[in-house]
């Protein structure tokens, strides 16, 4: 570029107070190739931008340097400005002389000298810049929602109701997630299944929602607007198109005593089973680990009983492919397995006796006890002897907020559901006494604080601010030793039942899924959003959105809100005719490429493929690496590992960067 324009901004007083803008402008005028170098009070303002456009026309500028604030602030602004004047928007560079100069130095001469050098660097860079065109890709207007809990259901319904097709993939035999197993929800004490199941049915019946239940996502290839997903439908051994859901099979199944996953082992189920009566789809699945026919070719009673001929012991997994344009991840959570010694820091809480004493259970297990359709039909019974517990201790923060041997974060919902548990217990066992050991009471939502006060004031729950050190058993009672730090005394309670509020963790396998999707995750496995404040449901992988507990611990209203947000983002994506991607991506000079494929191995997005160069007549010339312009995110790692530097990153080419460095000589 040989006709460069330099525009130095005063930014009011922000720059001009410390940097001598006039001197800097005149120093820049002396750089070879600079045609004009001016300064003005507010470059980003209308008159400022008009000045830039006017200079572009008058001086026939072929590149522009704006010396002002950070490019993160206004690069997009100035790109639009020059585009209006007919100059390619990628021939603009910003010299950051505010955030990284005038605002951090006070010595005027030093700051001015530094500003001049910063501008010099930008001039040298822009001299080497290429005119770039945005990359256009088509869009497949179908979304895939991974996870059929309340968040996934909300997202799927929103997207489908907006008129787009949705593919939902749920790993369990039925959708509904954890919410389907809850009894009543805070703060309204709505029956969880009553509010959820209509929506589950809607999903099952929606003309635009294709539900893959008892399935998992195996691979996702492609890029925003153009994904191909491979979905493994696990073998149900029941043909759901023939099955009528009559129930003869699970009634006749002789193996009735398998611990129920849905009841978190508080109840039993047969080997052929529907997880819960309101399941969607309401069709059974055979547990291949316990079914006698599948293991040793015995039994087979269900097949004989089935009048629809829907049992198929020869069923196998099937892998299907779906083409989609966006992915919404709503994989939910699991509870911290507190009884187990785990790897690394997560040592489990053996001192609470979980797994050792039958009457020490976790919060989801308690939900199943309280639930009207649970293993005890809603009666609160001790797992050990079936008696009604008269004294129940609830322990908060088991695994949460524990830097030493647990997880550092707060699981957000436990204070609320513990309060709820005390109320539900009291409503069922009128002469019972609930005790809660807590660290803090976190009840920040709408009506939440009032809810907790009700539990204490109306339903008489006793709250002790302190932790539990140990739970032991004596005769048939559980001895809970804790502290009441407000009273300043130790507290020992003889409990009939102990409920531990275990920490919320992301569902198992979510990090594998994240890697498939190129989504980042933190050290706990929670998926990473693009920006914690301004982009909470987008990820750094274009076209992949997240919602619900897979992002961080949260309750049902928040999950539903995030799900709708993710659906909205998906709809924005689908509303475009075609997608444009930033062109600052990598390119391989195929003539120079030595085909060592170091770049192919290194690319975090698998955006580089092994390709061949042929003559126009089809004669093989050489192997080469080649960048897929749809997948490349422009990190430049390929450039760094390329030994011959055949790989280049537009916008940050070797020429551009080295020119900047050399200018400092």
């Amino acid at each position: 570029m040989s006709r460069i324009g330099v525009f130095v901004c005063w930014c009011g007083e922000n720059i001009a107070r410390t940097v001598d803008v006039a001197e800097v402008a005149s120093a820049s005028a002396k750089i070879p190739g600079v045609r004009c170098s001016v300064h003005y009070k507010y470059m980003c303002s209308d008159p400022g931008q008009a000045m830039i456009r006017e200079k572009i026309e008058r001086e026939r500028l072929d590149a522009v340097v704006v010396a002002s604030c950070s490019p993160h602030m206004h690069l997009k602004t100035f790109r639009k400005t020059v585009e209006r004047a007919g100059l390619n928007p990628y021939l603009v560079e910003m010299a950051n002389i505010r955030e990284q100069c005038s605002w951090v130095h006070h010595d005027r001469s030093q700051a001015t000298a530094k500003a001049a050098e910063i501008i010099r660097m930008s001039v040298e860079k822009v001299r080497q810049d290429h005119a770039l065109q945005p990359i256009r890709v088509p869009v497949t207007r179908r979304a895939m929602v991974i996870g059929g809990g309340v968040a996934g259901i909300q997202a799927a319904l929103d997207i489908a109701d907006a008129g787009y097709e949705v593919v939902m993939v749920e790993r369990e035999p039925s959708i509904g997630g954890k919410m389907a197993g809850l009894s009543e929800t805070f703060p309204t004490l709505d029956c969880s299944q009553c509010i959820l199941t209509p929506r589950m049915v809607e999903v099952g019946q929606h003309p635009r929602i294709k539900l893959y239940s008892y399935s998992e996502v195996e691979a996702v290839d492609g890029f925003i607007g153009n994904f191909t997903a491979k979905i493994r439908q696990k073998a149900r051994y029941v043909d759901i198109s023939k099955c009528t859901g009559c129930g003869e099979c699970w009634n006749v199944c002789p193996l009735k005593r398998n611990p129920s996953e849905f009841d978190f082992k508080m109840g039993m189920r047969p080997a052929i089973y529907v997880p819960f009566p309101q399941a969607v789809p309401a069709r059974p699945v055979i547990d291949s680990k316990t079914c006698a026919k599948l293991i040793r070719n015995g039994c087979g009673l269900c097949e004989k009983k089935c009048q629809a001929g829907a049992i198929n012991f020869k069923d196998t997994d099937k892998v299907v492919e779906e083409k989609i344009g966006a992915v919404v991840v709503a994989t939910g959570y699991q509870l911290y397995d507190i009884g187990k010694q785990q790897t690394g820091k997560l040592a489990g809480y053996g001192e609470y006796g979980y797994g050792k004493y039958k009457d020490v259970i976790d919060s989801l297990q308690f939900e199943r006890l309280v639930s009207a359709s649970g293993p005890t039909n809603g009666a609160i019974k001790r797992p050990s002897d079936g008696k009604e517990p008269k004294s129940v201790v609830f322990v908060s923060c088991v695994g949460s907020r524990d830097n030493a041997k647990g997880l550092s974060y707060c699981s957000k919902i436990c204070c609320m559901y513990t309060a709820k548990h005390t109320m539900l217990y009291k409503h069922k066992v009128h002469d019972g006494q609930a005790h809660v050991f807590y660290m803090d009471l976190r009840s920040g939502g709408k009506g939440y604080e009032e809810f907790v006060r009700r539990a204490i004031e109306q339903d008489g729950a006793k709250y002790y601010r302190g932790r539990v050190s140990k739970i032991t058993q004596q005769n048939s009672k559980l001895i809970v030793r804790g502290a009441d730090t407000l009273a300043g005394t130790p507290v020992t309670i003889e409990a009939d039942l102990v409920v531990l509020a275990a920490a919320m963790r992301p569902s198992p396998g979510v990090t594998d899924l994240a890697r498939m999707l190129n989504v980042g995750y933190d050290e706990h496995g929670f998926l990473l959003e693009s920006h914690p404040k301004l982009r909470p449901v987008e990820t750094n992988a274009g076209g992949v959105f997240i919602c619900g507990a897979c992002h961080s611990p949260k309750d049902i209203p928040e999950s539903v809100a995030q799900a709708s947000a993710a659906a909205a983002k998906t709809q924005i994506l689908f509303a475009a005719e075609e997608l444009t991607r930033e062109p600052e991506i990598a390119q391989i000079n195929e003539q120079m490429c030595a085909a060592c494929f170091a770049c192919y191995r290194t690319c975090p997005y698998h955006a580089i493929e092994q390709a061949e160069v042929h003559t126009p007549r089809g004669v093989f010339v050489k192997k080469t690496a080649r960048v897929n312009p749809g997948l490349c995110m422009g990190c430049g790692t390929c450039v760094a590992v390329c030994p011959s530097k055949s790989a280049e990153l537009e916008g940050f080419t070797e020429q551009e960067i080295y020119s900047m460095v050399e200018s400092l000589a």
């Binding site: 005028a29 002396k30 750089i31 070879p32 190739g33 040298e124 001299r127 003539q591 020119s659 050399e662 200018s663 000589a665």
Partner: protein
């Protein structure tokens, strides 16, 4: 009657030259088994025997591997140029071999032909060449094949002949006499004649072959072992190709001249991407052509002194000698 000087005496004389501000270059042992020719820090480092010749050539004295031509500075529309080429101190090349010395007058032609290279000439004028005649040779020596020999005088200002613990000193030019005047003693002893290796090929045959066999499979077939590095050219006393590059940024920098080798793959690469010498065979052919046909036609001298450095330094034992004997066999 001859003039002699003890070896110790020559060392002392060299130290005197140093004290006078002259640069004295000579062969020194850098590592076990490696003798290189370079300006000496101390005359004590010079080695007289136990080796055939230095692994590198003495051409660096007049044609350095890296030379500043000029400096540039741009400001706005103004360009300022400052010449490179500082003052050159007088230099004495001590104990070069006849194959080193003969190269200098051969190089003089190309550096004064259509353009007088003042950087080269300044150094050349400041140089006095004191040649140590050869008492031995190895399988890579072929000076006798190109019209020279172990006691050839071409290019030398002084010839030294090793008599054991003293040298016979024969001053051939005024320059030579100027530095040895009054430093030698007369003696009866004189060096015997030395024959050198039997000629391995005839330069006329080489010229004939390369002129007549420009095309044909010989060059591709016989040069497969060449890896295309610059070890031969850079250690050759007569090779003189150079590359001019600018080192700096858009505002200031230096224009410099560096050695180049016709065996590098990019030697004749055009900006268009076309390379008229795209393979090693064509590059080797060009080298033989240049040294044995074109240069003689233009300047009347073969551009080779038969020192054998190319073969000795070649990582794969090739070098020009292998090719030339191959041509001789082919005829």
């Amino acid at each position: 009657m001859s003039e002699i000087l003890t070896k110790a005496g020559l060392r002392e004389l060299a130290k005197e030259w140093n004290a006078q501000g002259k640069v004295v270059a000579g062969p020194a042992q850098v590592k076990p088994g490696l003798v290189l020719y370079a300006p000496l820090a101390s005359a004590d480092d010079i080695v007289w025997d136990g080796f055939v010749r230095a692994a590198n050539s003495a051409k660096e004295a007049v044609f350095p591997r890296h030379e500043l031509l000029c400096r540039y500075h741009l400001e706005g529309n103004r360009v300022e140029l400052t010449n490179g080429g500082a003052e050159v101190a007088a230099q004495i090349l001590l104990a070069v071999r006849p194959c080193d010395a003969a190269a200098l007058p051969i190089l003089d032609h190309v550096f004064n032909w259509d353009y007088r290279d003042e950087a080269y000439n300044r150094r050349r004028e400041a140089t006095t060449v004191v040649t140590l005649a050869c008492a031995s040779y190895d399988e890579s020596c072929f000076c006798t094949s190109v019209g020279l020999g172990p006691q050839a005088e071409r290019g030398s200002d002084v010839m030294l002949f090793d008599l054991g613990d003293e040298f016979e000193v024969r001053c051939l030019t005024d320059k030579g006499r100027a530095i040895f005047a009054g430093k030698t003693q007369t003696s009866e002893r004189t060096a015997p004649l030395s024959k050198g290796p039997k000629p391995r090929f005839s330069p006329q045959h080489i010229k004939q072959f390369v002129d007549e066999h420009f095309t044909g499979p010989f060059w591709q077939d016989e040069t497969l072992a060449c890896l295309g590095c610059g070890a031969c050219a850079y250690n050759c006393p007569t090779c003189h190709c150079f590359d001019i590059v600018d080192e700096g940024n858009s505002q200031h920098g230096e224009r410099v001249r560096n050695w180049d080798s016709c065996q590098f793959a990019q030697f004749t690469l055009h900006a268009s991407g076309h390379n008229p010498r795209p393979d090693q065979g064509s590059r080797q052919r060009q080298r033989v052509l240049h040294k044995f046909s074109i240069y003689p036609e233009k300047f009347g001298e073969i551009l080779c002194t038969g020192c054998g450095n190319c073969t000795r330094n070649c990582p794969e034992g090739q070098g020009l000698l292998t090719l030339l004997t191959g041509i001789e066999h082919a005829l």
